[in-house]
């Protein structure tokens, strides 16, 4: 078991970094608690794979320190860190059977054969591989191979953390959920620290207890899936999580009301006067901006997207584009409509950072 602490970890591939832009990973302080499942979520190029490689030891960070249970491992090579890593495509030893693959790390440590066999069958049982133990590894399907890769990591009882680098990329889409379910049950059974890198929000939100949203080398917000969805601290998180992402409207905020082009919106909290010069926006998810026949701001409907189980209306509020939900019982919609905002879920952002209001 390990608790991993990042102390000012930063990485620049180009030697001496001159400015912020040279950093692939900007200075980061974070503690990964043992037994938790984390996801690193972000678009390509955001630095998530770099961070994963720093933790596993495949990349030595240009700045900062890394501690496993308060031991400084920053310069320690991968093999000594006692972690397991599952890559994007299955990495198995072609010439060996499944059982030999799983036993390999233990054989390299010269463990007793009886102990090795016992451990291999435990892990094979957990991953549903026991039927295939004596088959050649290379003849199996991609998801079985990924389970073998995972098993090789788990077979060492003292492994401190398991790192996943977009492991479901090559898996048949129909089978992805089975593997996700298996990963979750392994996590519950072994109570290991697991860190999962992905650019797919569904994978991140499904797998993790806490998600680290990254963009441009920076950790933008760390929180539970519910927190990230309901209370994004940064406009990027609002945009990235949820499909479609959060609507952002330029506004001026005073007390409990916000003025946007096209009208005034009631907010769920009272906000202090915001310093001038900051770009103020209100953010509201399409789920909470709903077309209504009752009271609401007038909008012009540009397009209706029928998603089968729900409908989205792409509208224009005073010239600003807005994505809204259509209530299921609303009939056909003409060019003019009204939108109601859920005050509790209408958030205020100044220069992309969320402003906390006082409950009114």
């Amino acid at each position: 078991m390990a608790r991993i602490r990042l102390d000012g970890i930063a990485h620049s591939y180009a030697g001496k970094p001159e400015s912020d832009r040279d950093y692939a990973l900007k200075p980061l302080h974070h503690v990964w608690e043992q037994g938790q499942a984390y996801a690193l979520l972000g678009p390509s190029g955001c630095g998530k794979t770099t961070l994963l490689n720093i933790i596993s030891g495949l990349v030595i960070p240009s700045e900062g320190h890394l501690y496993f249970d308060d031991v400084d491992v920053t310069q320690l090579p991968t093999e000594k860190r006692n972690i397991a890593q599952v890559f994007q495509f299955p990495v198995i030893y072609d010439t060996m059977t499944v059982a030999q693959n799983l036993a390999f790390p233990l054989k390299n440590r010269r463990m007793d054969k009886a102990l090795i066999d016992k451990r291999v069958s435990e892990i094979a049982q957990m991953l549903d591989l026991n039927r295939d133990l004596n088959r050649r590894a290379r003849g199996l399907t991609a998801d079985a191979k990924q389970k073998i890769s995972l098993g090789r990591g788990l077979v060492r009882a003292d492994v401190s953390a398991v790192l996943f680098d977009e492991p479901l990329t090559v898996i048949d889409p129909a089978l992805k959920w089975e593997l996700r379910s298996k990963l979750k049950s392994v996590h519950r059974a072994l109570n290991l620290l697991m860190i999962y890198v992905t650019h797919d929000q569904i994978e991140a939100l499904t797998f993790a207890d806490k998600v680290v949203v990254m963009n441009d080398g920076r950790a933008v917000q760390i929180g539970t899936p519910a927190e990230l969805f309901e209370r994004p601290d940064h406009t990027f998180v609002g945009y990235f999580i949820g499909s479609p992402g959060m609507n952002l409207l330029p506004a001026s905020v005073a007390g409990t009301r916000a003025r946007v082009e096209g009208g005034e919106i009631q907010l769920g909290a009272a906000y202090p006067a915001l310093p001038s010069g900051k770009r103020v926006q209100i953010g509201v998810r399409p789920d909470y901006a709903v077309l209504t026949t009752g009271a609401g701001l007038p909008v012009k409907v540009k397009r209706i997207a029928d998603l089968g189980r729900k409908r989205l209306a792409y509208v224009s509020l005073g010239g600003q584009p807005l994505v809204t939900s259509v209530p299921p019982d609303m009939g056909s919609i003409g060019e003019d409509a009204k939108v109601a905002f859920d005050a509790k879920h209408t958030l205020v952002y100044a220069d992309d950072i969320r402003v906390e209001g006082t409950a009114s």
Partner: protein, 296 residues
């Protein structure tokens, strides 16, 4: 796959090549087959010989049969020796070559240099190189007190030809292996490090299996070339001392051109060709069958 438009224009493109191949290969080959069943001294004097030449050749009790037998064994021994040295050496060198950075280009060029030299020039270089008086190699060895004499000592002659071939052609194995190694994704090495595998275990479990296809090609190519070796022994040792380095091709030329025994010469070359073909086919079939059975 794209279905091509169906017409017969393509045949016109093939005609020139067909004509060329006819003249350079097929007609001469048919001539050889013709000669092999005749007793001839060339110049339109042909006497039908039937399969006499072949029978004599394959019968070790006849003079020509015995000679063929000896040359065949000599050549096979030579091929085997070269393969046993070149393949492991080539893989070893490939493992040591840099994979990234500016050194890659330079090392690859340096390694490939021996292959770029024309073959008879190689023979001449080494002929001088091995002379005990002015050749660096020869002088160095005799200076160390070794009984080195390429024209009179059998062991010297044999080892020299082997060394020449290894020097000349190991780079081919190196380049093929290097390409094979470069194709292995980094993730395998990373996984091996995480699994705590030793350098040897990484080699045996990751690199060697992935090099298998490349090695099949390398072994086939090297076998064919060593089996047919001609210029180096011809220039450096002349087939001597005695018949110590008289390999199949040298023997063939002696009979066919030296003794103008075209009938026997032609028969020999046909048998020679069939042996090469058979060995390669057998080897290739075994390797692909092993592949298939392993995948099952």
């Amino acid at each position: 796959m794209t279905t091509k438009p169906v017409n017969n224009y393509a045949w016109f493109f093939v005609l020139p090549v067909l004509a060329f191949v006819m003249f350079s290969s097929i007609i001469p080959a048919m001539t050889v087959v013709n000669y092999s069943v005749q007793d001839t001294l060339g110049a339109n004097s042909f006497f039908w010989n039937g399969d006499t030449a072949f029978r004599a050749l394959l019968n070790p009790t006849t003079e020509i049969g015995a000679r063929f037998n000896d040359a065949l064994f000599r050549t096979l021994a030579f091929s085997l020796t070269c393969l046993l040295i070149e393949v492991p050496l080539g893989i070893l060198v490939a493992l040591c070559l840099p994979r990234k950075g500016w050194a890659v280009g330079i090392s690859l060029v340096l390694i490939a240099l021996p292959m770029l030299i024309p073959w008879n020039v190689i023979g001449t270089i080494w002929q001088i190189f091995t002379r005990a008086d002015i050749g660096l190699f020869g002088a160095a060895l005799t200076g160390l007190g070794l009984p080195y004499n390429v024209t009179q000592n059998t062991i010297s002659a044999w080892s020299t030809i082997v060394v020449i071939d290894v020097w000349h052609w190991t780079p081919l194995v190196v380049l093929l292996s290097y390409a094979g190694l470069r194709a292995i994704p980094d993730a395998y090495y990373q996984a091996a490090r995480i699994d705590g595998a030793s350098r040897w275990a990484t080699f045996a479990n990751i690199e060697l299996p992935k090099l298998q296809k490349v090695l099949v090609i390398a072994v086939l190519l090297r076998f064919m070339q060593t089996f047919m070796i001609y210029t180096e022994p011809f220039v450096v040792t002349g087939g001597g001392p005695g018949s110590a380095t008289t390999f199949l091709s040298i023997d063939l030329v002696k009979i066919a051109l030296g003794q103008v025994d075209l009938g026997n010469g032609a028969a020999m070359s046909l048998v020679y060709y069939l042996i090469t073909l058979t060995v390669c086919w057998v080897f290739y079939t075994i390797m692909t069958q092993l592949e298939r059975r392993r995948d099952a």
